[in-house]
Structure formats: structure tokens, C-alpha cells
Assembly symmetry: C2
Homo-oligomer: 266 residues x 2
């Protein structure tokens, strides 16, 4: 029995919406059967934190009451800080899986780059641990997430069984139609970007300030092999994403590549 106990996978759960967000609680509910769960999340919202790390402030790690069998911790840091603090301080062994989310808001397309949810997944990946981020397009914390349970379980079971290639993690996004999706596809991030990103306001002293907003435009709305297309057609999307961002410039722009390849001054 002891041996069996010890063989249960250890799963680290993180997010960027904070330890009290419904998304992370549902994620724990969905995957608790797969292993021992330790959850280390920010003590409040940290959306849009990307892979930010806290370099100058002191970090705190606070044990909270268990939730559904999971050990719960809050940190004062970013999602990446949560994964680092978990691995160095909160966990008694190396985790077999890092899952992040379920984020309240889409992390499809270019959002993957700004996402704190995916920041935590990339950090797990940097430690060489199979890592998956889950997000739902709805920002409504009251949105019913139960329709995603079978997809979350499917992905977690497969990744626990098969692992992931070195330096690759998964970005899973769910649509938020009234009827849950019945299908999930492995696709790529669509090309697209945000525009009109600030609302300009004037304060009581006549000074301007800016609040982030904006409109996302999919630049290839007809491409059926993209995350954004899936989400617009009530299909869950999986995009495999790389930690290493190096590209071989010589395959893309030979003239510039040649002129930058080796620069010598005497």
C-alpha cells in the first residue's frame, strides 16, 4: 500500500487569476483522481503577467486550508514565481505534471504570450516537467465549467501517460457557448493582433491616463487549422508551444543572415 501511495503522480496546480478563482478550484475537482495535488497560486489576480518574475521584492508563501484533498498555498508573486516557489519550497518531490488555470479568459492566438496562465506552464516546461495551461474564453467567474471536465481529464491522462517532448507544453482553450463543445483539436495559433488598445481618460487635474482595452482581429479567419477558428466554432483547441524561441534566420532571410552571421572589427 505504501508503495502504491508513493507511486501516485504529484500534480502541481497554478494559475494567474489567484487562489480564490473558481477556475482553479474546478481544475482541482476535475483532476484530483489522477494524483496528489498541490496548488500554489498568486494571492490575487495576476492576469497578463506573462513569464514575469519578482526580482526585487520579497516573496511570501502561505499555506491555506486544504481544498478537496489538495494542499493549497498562496504567494505574493507572479504565476512563474508560484511554480518556482512550489518546486523549491512547497513540494516534497518533483512533480510529474504542472497544470495551470482554468483561466477565465482566452489565451488563444497571440494572448499566449501575455498570459500568466501560460507563463506558469512555460515555467513548468523550463523545469523539464510536462505542463499544460487551460483557459476558457469567458471572463465570467460564474460561467459553468463542468462541460470541460472530460476534455481536461482526457488531456491530463494522456500527458501523464505519454509525457511531452522536451521544451514543449500545451495551451488548451475552451469556447464558452451555452452548449459545451463535443470536440477538441490540435491546431496552431492563428495570426492576428490587438488594435485600439487604450481608452484615454482625463483625471480631475486635467491629466490623461490610459486603460487597456482593445479589439482582437484574426488575420486569417478562414483558416480552419487555428485555435481562434476552433473557438469560434464551439470546438476546444490545443496548441503545442515551444519554450525555446530561437529561429534559424538563415532559412528565412539569407541576405540579412549572411551579413549578421559574423561581424569582425579590428
Amino acid at each position: 500500500m505504501m508503495t502504491m501511495e508513493n507511486r501516485r503522480p504529484l500534480i502541481l496546480v497554478a494559475n494567474d487569476d489567484g487562489i480564490n478563482a473558481p477556475g482553479v478550484r474546478r481544475l482541482i475537482d476535475f483532476i484530483s483522481e489522477f494524483g496528489d495535488i498541490v496548488c500554489v497560486c498568486p494571492d490575487g489576480p495576476r492576469s497578463g503577467q506573462s513569464m514575469a518574475i519578482t526580482m526585487s521584492d520579497n516573496l511570501r508563501l502561505t499555506r491555506l486550508d486544504d481544498y478537496n484533498g489538495a494542499k493549497m498555498y498562496a504567494t505574493t508573486g507572479t504565476p512563474v514565481d508560484c511554480v518556482k516557489l512550489a518546486i523549491y519550497e512547497a513540494l516534497d518531490r518533483r512533480p510529474d505534471l504542472v497544470v495551470s488555470g482554468i483561466n477565465h479568459g482566452s489565451n488563444a492566438a497571440i494572448n499566449v504570450l501575455y498570459s500568466g496562465t501560460m507563463g506558469a506552464a512555460f515555467e513548468g516546461c523550463a523545469f523539464g516537467i510536462p505542463s499544460v495551461g487551460f483557459s476558457v474564453t469567458s471572463h465570467d467567474h460564474g460561467f459553468d465549467l463542468s462541460g470541460y471536465e472530460r476534455f481536461v481529464k482526457d488531456v491530463v491522462a494522456k500527458v501523464l501517460a505519454e509525457g511531452l517532448p522536451e521544451g514543449v507544453c500545451l495551451n488548451v482553450n475552451f469556447p464558452s457557448e451555452p452548449t459545451p463543445p463535443t470536440e477538441m483539436r490540435l491546431v496552431r495559433a492563428c495570426k492576428g493582433n490587438w488594435s485600439d488598445e487604450y481608452d484615454k481618460h482625463i483625471d480631475e487635474n486635467g491629466e490623461p491616463y490610459y486603460v487597456l482595452t482593445g479589439t482582437f482581429t484574426n488575420e486569417e479567419p478562414e483558416s480552419t487549422d487555428t485555435d481562434d477558428w476552433c473557438l469560434n466554432h464551439n470546438i476546444a483547441s490545443i496548441v503545442a508551444v515551444a519554450l525555446d524561441r530561437t529561429v534559424d534566420l538563415s532559412t528565412m532571410n539569407s541576405k540579412l543572415s549572411q551579413s549578421l552571421k559574423l561581424v569582425k572589427f579590428e
Copy 2:
């Protein structure tokens, strides 16, 4: 004359060490001959901010005194916020180039992911603008940067002339030996990671807190085609890095790829 004036390239300068860091001032000195310079930087240090964006707080953009012919602005935001605010609010036309830095600290290897300097470069890239981040391995704000001038000018001249492939920006790092480098190479990010990342302290109430520190280990120290190897041999490094992180899982792990390709539930 008017036409010639209007043809001068517009260069946006950003950083993560803040508007008063020596690195950004030297960068402006080095490249002022190439065009009209507008500099939009955080109002204080924002190291390790990656591609973080400010989602809930109000942002301020403040015009400061010009520096060496450059228009200078400080923001209350992250490096990515600086680029966004510059493009939407501070600039009167689309910039021809975004340069970020010169960062006081290495952004080679995995540091590129956490770097606010490179966050600004990636954001410029997201707008479709050729973008380059410059960093020096020394954290000493008093370190003499003059030996890098010819390399900065060389890269800026080439990128202004040739552009960069869509979705690719450059991560340039300089070693900080007493004798400046005479060579710069186009290479790849080395494999490696940080360990022992926290110093644990106990406060006056007996409660622990954590401060980020750590040791970087290059996992392939003999690979001469990497940024870390170059920097350890007094050679400046250029790594071309991609905005889009999508990878084709089917080329890496066919079994998992096959099982995730299409998941259907009735």
C-alpha cells in the same frame, strides 16, 4: 529638404531598467545619427517583466526633457506597455525600428523569456516592426558601454536596410570583459536553466520570506554555436527569436500527437 526630413527613419527606444538607466542613454547616443528618436521607458526598474501587460491599473505617460535630440517619455507601466503607449499615443507615425536596452544584465539563454528588454522587442515585433533588444552581461550601471557602439550601429544599420522576417526579432548580448569584443556572431540560445533560486530569510515575526537569486548552468558548455559560449569567450551574440511559439507536435511525438489530434465526445 522637407521631403528628406520626412524620410528620416523613426526609431522607438524602450528598455526595462527605466528611463534614467545609463544603458538607454548610451543606446540613444549610439543610434541618433540613424533617424528621429523617440524614447518611451518605464519610470523605474522593471527587470524580469517578460511580456507582462498592465491590465487593471491606470497607465500614465509623461513627457520629459529631450535627451540628445530624442523625445523622452516615462510610463508607469511595463516594457510592453511602453511600446503600446508609444505606438498609440506618443508617436506621430509608425516607427521603422524598435530598439530596447541596452539592458544592464544578460538576456542570453533562457533569460530571453523573462526579460522585459526582450518583452519590448517582442511587442515591437507583434506590431510588425523590425525590433532588436540589446543587453550587456554586467549589472554595473557604471560599466563603460562605448566598446559596443560599433556593434549596435552595425546591427541597426543592417536591420534598417534589410528589415527582419515577419514575426522574428533579434536578441543581441554583449560580454563585459575589460577589453571590448572585436567579434559578433549569429548563434542560438544555449540549453540551460537556473537552480537554487531563492534565498530564504526569516523576518522579525519568525515568518519566512524568499528573495530571488540562483545559479545559471549551461547544459552544453562546449557548444560553440550558442550565445552563452560566445559571451564566455568575449564575443557578442545575436540570436534570432520568434514571436509565434507554436510547434508542430506531429514532428516530435507522433503517438501523443495522434491521440490529441482530434478528441470527440458524444
